[in-house]
Subunit: 425 residues, 2 copies
């Protein structure tokens, strides 16, 4: 079931690094049509699509305060405590990301600086499906609040029982989000893009989702909206050696594989023996999983790769650019120092991916599909934008004047030259 | 020619804030075809398109070292000095943007941190057209170098004389960029997206361009490439009052208007008299501009808006979300404190936009078309991505274990629970 590779040559690395391809083009017409309808018919179209896709007749799109408060009584004390613990760590890590820039005098009389400002209106999409993904609310709502976004809304579909799960409502309320809308899929993304009678238009849309949501987020870019990340199926790459614990690694690979049949797990090993023992451990552990079928299916996309050179191993990992990267080798410092591309890195035997998925404090919204070559995961900056400022005195402008005028002249822009000359007439 | 508005009501602000619309959909098939050809035929297609669109028969796509060195003798000493002065300030301002994050202990034994890493391969597009835009090389190459990007390439079309202007070659060399390719338009963007025999594939593409380049950058997003910003025609909003100098403001508005016929200039004034005097000054000054026709045409898109309330004026400016925003009023602190959305802000009588276009140190690649609501202009961060790290001890994981397991259980992910339990078996 797993593809084995031994010291693969560099020229096949791009081929090995390819993720399972998903062709979204074929669902584009459907998504375009949903956008058209939501733009035209607003709330009515949301009710219609929710009936059609979620088999739910909504009385109201906005969740009532009463239902949000009720959720507090429906979630166990233990789970509430766990969510609060996770929140504390995520808050601590994201608050530490606040950066205050100093004012710089680039020339005498020329003061320049940057300021980060919150994006005023953001929309968080929380998928429904087989489980209530309340952890994603923590990952998106906490940095949005720290950044100071004024309007933070959540769209999430009804579960099969026709309602938003209590864990989701509780977590949203704990994070101080009161505008929760019971709508999912491409129609939720369209609603946040254009606004409807009930749902406000936002400037940036965050959150994971199925292929319709992914396509819809991509499509929203045509309407002055931005998005957190281009989404794709989740991935994990584990690096191991002789000193690794095969049972720990097997559990990590399986925790990724259980996400969905398109998840991808990679083991890069600088020990041949480890590969065999991890495989055996996987066979032992997978039997006990409730999502065993999913895990077995996604293991078909997985690759176990042996390298006899540390350099080749680390070069390959940078070429692959994993979303999650667990380093479980003796010589960890070497591999840490070589990292160029990765979403989130987990160092050592006791740093499983699930720590970062829930509770350590780092964000779990990360670049997949090789996008860690150029994208950051969601962090505090994702909810802000940077504005530059400059304040120039008369002396300052006089210091710059020759430079500006000569450059403007060489670019054939005499209007630009004039802005200086009129000031010194 | 200019549209006058007096205390416009809030409900028409979105209408007033609309930029001239450009329909790129109609050129999409052409761009798609160029991508297809470049992917298939590489360098040959670049030579073909350059002959077809730029009327130039290239001997080689890569600019020869000899030609780059020769450019040093063809640019005047004065201009070289000006470019070096600008470079010094841009370097100073962008170096000040380096951020080093501290390691955070979110729980005992749970260490988390962020690191910024350079995007390894970046492509800078420098447009050709009526003038050699060497200032844009400074704005893109300097932060790319400071970030530590390993491979920085420039694509720029031949001028009407069949060659890249010497100012462009000189500035690129001054910034330490040696891979310069003589190719422009959508074919240049396609070449950087896929790579050809000569031009390396990059991970992120930067730089302004005409509508074909804009469409091509948007299209490159389908191929695991990212881009700096969605591009649009340049804009300036000036805020003035009784104390403003009408002649200074007129020169600023004209410097924006001369860029292109689709440029947009807005004057927001809290004095009615200023509007009349700025108009008169514009009529005086425009006559003397070599790009007078362009400026007069783009003034048709311009609006002069009077507000009798500071609050309404600043609220409107945030709704408009200008690319460039000049604050030339007595009560500048009030308006600075109210800024939510802007690309780059110029404070005071002696801070013309052209200072930031060339020489003060701030970047001139900025969000247009209202995108300052959610996008930053190009800055050092544009050339990096942030990776998160975590290193957890056995005690640390034990501190997190209950939280992780309860949350994983509630999300129906028992494989995630196992990653903790196997470690404490």
């Amino acid at each position: 079931m797993i593809i084995d590779l031994i010291n693969p040559a560099r020229n096949i690395w791009p081929e090995i690094s390819k993720r399972p391809e998903i062709d979204l083009e074929k669902i584009k017409p459907l998504v375009e049509n949903i956008f058209k309808e939501v733009k035209k018919n607003g709330d009515n179209s949301l009710l219609k699509f929710t009936k059609e896709f979620d088999k739910t007749l909504l009385k109201s799109i906005k969740v009532k305060r009463k239902d949000i408060l009720n959720s507090h009584n429906k979630v166990s004390e233990k789970l509430k405590q766990a969510i609060k613990s996770a929140k504390k760590n995520i808050e601590k890590f994201h608050k530490a990301q606040i950066v205050i820039f100093k004012k710089i005098e680039t020339e005498k009389g020329v003061q320049c600086w940057q300021e980060k400002k919150a994006i005023e209106k953001v929309g968080l999409y929380i998928p429904g499906g087989t489980a209530p993904l309340f952890s994603t609310i923590l990952m998106l709502a906490i940095p949005a609040k720290i950044a100071g976004c004024k309007e933070i809304i959540i769209c999430t579909p009804p579960s099969k029982r026709g309602k938003i799960p209590n864990e989701v409502l509780f977590t949203a309320d704990l994070c101080g989000i009161s505008k929760i809308y019971c709508v999912g899929g491409a129609q939720a993304i369209a609603a946040m893009t254009f606004g409807t009678e009930t749902i406000p238009k936002v400037y940036k849309i965050f959150g994971p989702g199925n292929q319709y949501v992914t396509m819809a987020k991509q499509y929203s870019l045509n309407y002055n909206v931005s998005i957190d990340l281009p989404a794709g199926p989740s991935e994990l790459l584990v690096l191991g050696d002789l000193t690794s614990n095969p049972s720990f690694i097997a559990s990590d690979l399986l925790s990724q594989a259980e996400h969905g049949i398109d998840s991808q797990v990679i083991l890069v090993s600088i020990s041949k023996g480890l590969i065999t023992s991890v495989k055996n451990e996987i066979l032992n552990q997978v039997k006990l999983l409730s999502r065993k079928e999913i895990a077995l299916e996604s293991l078909k996309n997985s690759k176990f790769i042996y390298f006899n050179s540390n350099k080749n191993a680390s070069d390959f990992i940078n070429e692959y650019a994993p979303e999650h990267y667990i380093i479980s080798v003796e010589n960890e410092d070497y591999f840490i120092s070589k990292i160029l591309n990765a979403g989130s890195v987990f160092i050592g035997k006791y740093s499983p991916e699930s720590a970062g998925d829930y509770a350590s404090g780092t964000n779990h919204t990360l670049p997949t599909n090789g996008y860690s070559k150029q994208y950051s995961g969601v962090n505090l900056d994702s909810f802000t934008k940077t504005i530059t400022f400059q304040k120039i005195t008369k002396t300052g402008l006089s210091n710059l004047s020759e430079t500006i005028q000569l450059m403007a002249q060489a670019e054939n822009l005499d209007g630009h030259m004039n802005t200086v000359s009129v000031r010194f007439k």
